[in-house]
C-alpha cells in the first residue's frame, strides 16, 4: 500500500516539474556496489538505481524558482537558512545581473536552498555515495578512478581559477551521459557532512569512529586519489547555511522499483 502511494506521489510531482522548470534532463544510473574512498573492502556500499540531472542547476533555472517561491529570494530568505553570502553576486532578488551567465551553474546557494529547490521539482539532492558513484566515471568507463588521465583532469580543474561562471555542458559527458560533475563547481549533496573531516584532519584516524581518515589516510581505499580527498575535505568544511562561490548543485531522484 505504502509503496503504491509513494509511486503515485512521485508521478504526481513528476508531472508538476514541467510547469516549474525548463531544465529537466535526467539520466538513469544503474546502481551497483562500490568502495568509497574512505572505506575498505568490507565497507563497500550498495546503491540502488537512481536518476540524476544531466547538468547542474543554472542561474536561469534558479531565477525561475525564485519567481515561484519568493521566500527564497535573497532579501527574504530566513537567516537560519542562508548566510550573508547567499546569491552574493546577484544584482537583486530577481536578477543575476550582467556578470553571471544565465547558463552557468548557480552558486552561492546554501544547502537548505538547494534542497528546497530540488523538492520543488519533485526531486532531491543526491547522496554523497550516489554523487561519488556517478562521478567516478570518465567518458568511457563507469569507474575510472585508477586512470591517471581521469585524476589529472580533475586536478587540473582544481588549479584553474574562476570556473564557476563557465556554461553548463562545457566539460565532458561521462559514461552515464552526465556533464560537469568535475570542471565547473563543487556540488552539494544531501548528506554532505556525514563523512566528517574535522578541522584537524590529521587526527581523523580514530578507528572507533567512522570518520574519513584525513591526510593520515590509514583506512582510505586509494591513497593516490587525492582529488577525492579534497572533495571530502571541502564538504567537511561546510555548514548547511553556507553559500560559496564555487559551490552549486544538481538534483537526483529515486527510481521506482517495479
Amino acid at each position: 500500500m505504502h509503496s503504491i502511494l509513494k509511486n503515485v506521489f512521485v508521478l504526481v510531482s513528476f508531472a508538476a516539474i514541467h510547469t516549474i522548470t525548463a531544465q529537466d534532463d535526467m539520466v538513469h544510473i544503474k546502481g551497483g556496489t562500490y568502495t568509497p574512498l574512505y572505506g575498505v573492502d568490507s565497507t563497500a556500499v550498495t546503491i540502488d538505481d537512481f536518476s540524476m540531472d544531466v547538468y547542474p542547476v543554472t542561474n536561469a533555472d534558479y531565477l525561475e524558482f525564485l519567481r515561484k517561491f519568493p521566500a527564497w529570494q535573497k532579501s527574504k530568505i530566513i537567516p537560519l537558512f542562508a548566510d550573508g553570502s547567499y546569491l552574493a553576486d546577484w544584482e537583486n532578488d530577481l536578477s543575476y545581473g550582467n556578470q553571471l551567465s544565465a547558463d552557468a551553474p548557480v552558486t552561492n546557494v546554501s544547502w537548505f536552498a538547494a534542497k528546497k529547490y530540488c523538492e520543488c521539482q519533485g526531486k532531491r539532492l543526491p547522496t554523497i555515495d550516489e554523487w561519488e558513484f556517478a562521478a567516478m566515471a570518465d567518458e568511457k568507463t563507469a569507474d575510472a578512478r585508477k586512470k591517471e588521465t581521469y585524476n589529472q583532469k580533475i586536478l587540473d580543474w582544481y588549479e584553474a581559477p574562476k570556473t564557476f561562471n563557465n556554461e553548463i555542458g562545457s566539460t565532458f559527458k561521462n559514461y552515464w551521459g552526465i556533464y560537469d560533475l568535475h570542471g565547473l563547481v563543487w556540488e552539494w549533496t544531501m548528506d554532505f557532512n556525514s563523512v566528517l573531516i574535522s578541522g584537524e584532519s590529521r587526527k581523523d584516524v580514530d578507528k572507533d569512529s567512522n570518520l574519513f581518515c584525513g591526510s593520515a589516510a590509514v583506512g582510505a581505499s586509494d591513497l593516490m586519489n587525492y582529488a577525492a580527498f579534497m572533495r571530502y575535505a571541502f564538504r567537511g568544511s561546510m555548514k548547511a547555511k553556507y553559500s560559496v562561490k564555487n559551490l552549486g548543485f544538481r538534483c537526483a531522484m529515486d527510481v521506482p522499483k517495479i
Binding site: Y158, K162, S215, A217, S237
Partner: protein
C-alpha cells in the same frame, strides 16, 4: 669527628633536596609565569612579506595581538617561463611573518578568499593546544575563522596548513614563520631578514615551460624538481638580493617549510657567529652549516666584515645549483685586505650553471617540447634557457667574468663562426681561446639541450648585446650534431 660525619651527610642531603626542589619549582614558575602574563591592551600585528620582518617587539609589554591573515590561491612564476598555482598565507610563499612577544594573547583571524576553491586551516607550532590551532581554524572559501592562543614559549616557529591532503597544502606553499620574542626582546642587530626553504614537485622537470601541475607521485617519492628559498628560483638574487653594509650585524630568520627535505643551511663566505639552534634557547657559536629540519627553523647571526656577494645555499649542493636553492646577500662597503684579499670573483662558485651536466653526447635528442613559433618566441625561450644554463658563467649581459669566462657580448670569437658556436654548446670546449684580444683557458661542459633549445639560446645570444643578429635554426643544430 664521628658525631659530625652523619650530620654533614644529612646537611648534604638536605641541601641537595632543597636544590632539587627549588630547581623544580623554578621550571614550574617559568611555565606559570608566561601563562599568567597579563595581556590587556589590543594591538594589530604588523605582518610582512618575505624577505622582510616586522619591527622588533623591543621592551613592549605583552598585548592582545590581532593577526589578520588572508588565504589566497594564485598563480605565480617558479622560474623563467614556469608557472605554478601557489596556495598562500597572505599572497606570498612563505606566508607573512608574524612577530609576537612572550605572553601575547594572539587573536588569529584566518580568512579564506571567496574565489578560492578549497578549505584550509592553520597549524602554528607556537600554539599550545590541539592541532596547533588547526582544529579551530578549518575555514571554507568565503569565510573567516577566529581563535586565540597565548604564547607560552619563546622561539622561532613554523606555521602551515593542515587540511587534507596535508602534504599537498604544504607542497603548494602554505607555510611561514611566527617569532615569539622573550620578555627582554632579542639583542639589537642592524639587519634582519626572513628566508624560508621549500621543496616543490611538478609534472614537468626543472625548467619545463608552462603552468606546471603538482605531482603527487614525485611528492610521495620525495623527488623534488625545485628546492627554493622564498617560493621561487631567484627570489633573492640579482636586483632582489638582500643587502647589508660592511660592519653590520645580520640576523636571518631561517625556516624550512618542507614538505619533505631537511636543509643544510649555509652561507658561502660567512661563518655564523651565533646560531639559535632549531629556533630555541640553545645558542651555538662559530658554525659553518646548520641543519634545519622540515617544519623547523633556526636564527643565525653574523657580522659582515668585507664587501661582496654572500651566497645562501642548501649545502646539499645540487639543490643549490640545479634546483634553485640559492640566494644572495650583497654586502657593500670598504674592502679589508687583511681579512680578505679580494682577488677572486664570487661567480666562481657557479661554474657548472643550472643545467644538468654530462659528458659529450653525440646522439640525437628527444623532442616533445613546445617549439617556438616566431622570432619573438625564439628570443623569449632562448632567454629562459640562457638564464637557467648560461647566466652563471657568462653573466646577465653576456659580459662574462674577466680571466675566467669569455664574454658573449660583442664577441669576435662568437660572431666569426656560427657552426663552431653550436658545436661548443653541444659538445663543450676546453683549451685556450682568444676572445676580443684576451686569452681564456677554461672549461665549458657540454650542455644537455635539445636542438630546439640550442637554436633558441644561440639566436638569443646572437641577437643581443651588439652581436651579429644571426638566426640559428634547429636544422642547423641538427646538422652540426650529426657531424
Amino acid at each position: 669527628m664521628k658525631v659530625n660525619q652523619p650530620q654533614s651527610a644529612v646537611l648534604l642531603l638536605v641541601t641537595a633536596f632543597v636544590l632539587l626542589f627549588s630547581s623544580c619549582n623554578n621550571d614550574e614558575n617559568k611555565e606559570i609565569a608566561s601563562a599568567d602574563i597579563p595581556a590587556t591592551v589590543e594591538m594589530k600585528a604588523i605582518l610582512t612579506s618575505p624577505p622582510h620582518v616586522p619591527p622588533p617587539t623591543g621592551k613592549r609589554k605583552a598585548k592582545k595581538l590581532i593577526v589578520d591573515m588572508e588565504i589566497l590561491e594564485q598563480e605565480g612564476e617558479m622560474t623563467n617561463g614556469v608557472k605554478y598555482m601557489y596556495w598562500t598565507f597572505g599572497g606570498t610563499v612563505p606566508g607573512s611573518f608574524i612577530r609576537t612577544k612572550i605572553g601575547d594573547e594572539v587573536e588569529f583571524h584566518l580568512k579564506n578568499h571567496p574565489d578560492n576553491k578549497l578549505p584550509h586551516n592553520i597549524d602554528l607550532h607556537a600554539v599550545t593546544g590541539p592541532g596547533g590551532g588547526a582544529e579551530s581554524s578549518f575555514v571554507a572559501p568565503g569565510r573567516e575563522k577566529v581563535f586565540s592562543f597565548k604564547t607560552l614559549n619563546p622561539g622561532l616557529y613554523v606555521y602551515h596548513c593542515a587540511t587534507a591532503p596535508v602534504g599537498m597544502h604544504i607542497a603548494n606553499g602554505m607555510y611561514g614563520l611566527i617569532l615569539v620574542e622573550p620578555e627582554e626582546g632579542l639583542p639589537d642587530v642592524d639587519k634582519e631578514y626572513y628566508v624560508m626553504q621549500g621543496d616543490f614537485y611538478t609534472k614537468g622537470n626543472y625548467g619545463d615551460r608552462g603552468l606546471q601541475p603538482f605531482d603527487m607521485q614525485k611528492a610521495v617519492d620525495e623527488d623534488a624538481d625545485y628546492v627554493v628559498f622564498n617560493g621561487k628560483v631567484g627570489a633573492m638574487t640579482g636586483d632582489n638580493a638582500i643587502t647589508a653594509n660592511v660592519g653590520e650585524t645580520v640576523r636571518l630568520y631561517v625556516g624550512n617549510g618542507g614538505p619533505n627535505l631537511v636543509s643544510s643551511f649555509h652561507v658561502i663566505g660567512e661563518i655564523f657567529d651565533k646560531v639559535r639552534v632549531e629556533g630555541g634557547d640553545m645558542v651555538n657559536e662559530n658554525i659553518q652549516t646548520t641543519l634545519i629540519p622540515a617544519g623547523g627553523a633556526a636564527i643565525v647571526e653574523f657580522k659582515v666584515d668585507v664587501p661582496g656577494s654572500l651566497i645562501l645555499v642548501d649545502h646539499s649542493i645540487f639543490r643549490a645549483f640545479n634546483k634553485g636553492a640559492l640566494a644572495m646577500l650583497n654586502v657593500s662597503g670598504e674592502e679589508n685586505k687583511t681579512i680578505y684579499s679580494g682577488e677572486i670573483e664570487e661567480g666562481i662558485y657557479l661554474p657548472e650553471g643550472g643545467g644538468i651536466q654530462q659528458m659529450p653526447l653525440r646522439d640525437g635528442m628527444e623532442g616533445g617540447e613546445i617549439p617556438a613559433k616566431s622570432m619573438a618566441e625564439k628570443m623569449e625561450f632562448g632567454k629562459q634557457t640562457y638564464m637557467q644554463t648560461c647566466f652563471a658563467c657568462h653573466q646577465a649581459e653576456g659580459q662574462g667574468i674577466p680571466n675566467a669566462f669569455p664574454p658573449l657580448a660583442e664577441s669576435d670569437y662568437l660572431n666569426a663562426d656560427v657552426n663552431r658556436s653550436i658545436d661548443i654548446v653541444l659538445h663543450g670546449l676546453t683549451g685556450e681561446i682568444t676572445v676580443n684580444g684576451e686569452k681564456y683557458n677554461s672549461i665549458m661542459t657540454a650542455q644537455t639541450l635539445s636542438d630546439e633549445e640550442v637554436a633558441n639560446v644561440l639566436t638569443y645570444v646572437y641577437n643581443s648585446w651588439g652581436n651579429s643578429k644571426k638566426e640559428v635554426t634547429p636544422a642547423m643544430v641538427k646538422s652540426v650534431r650529426a657531424k
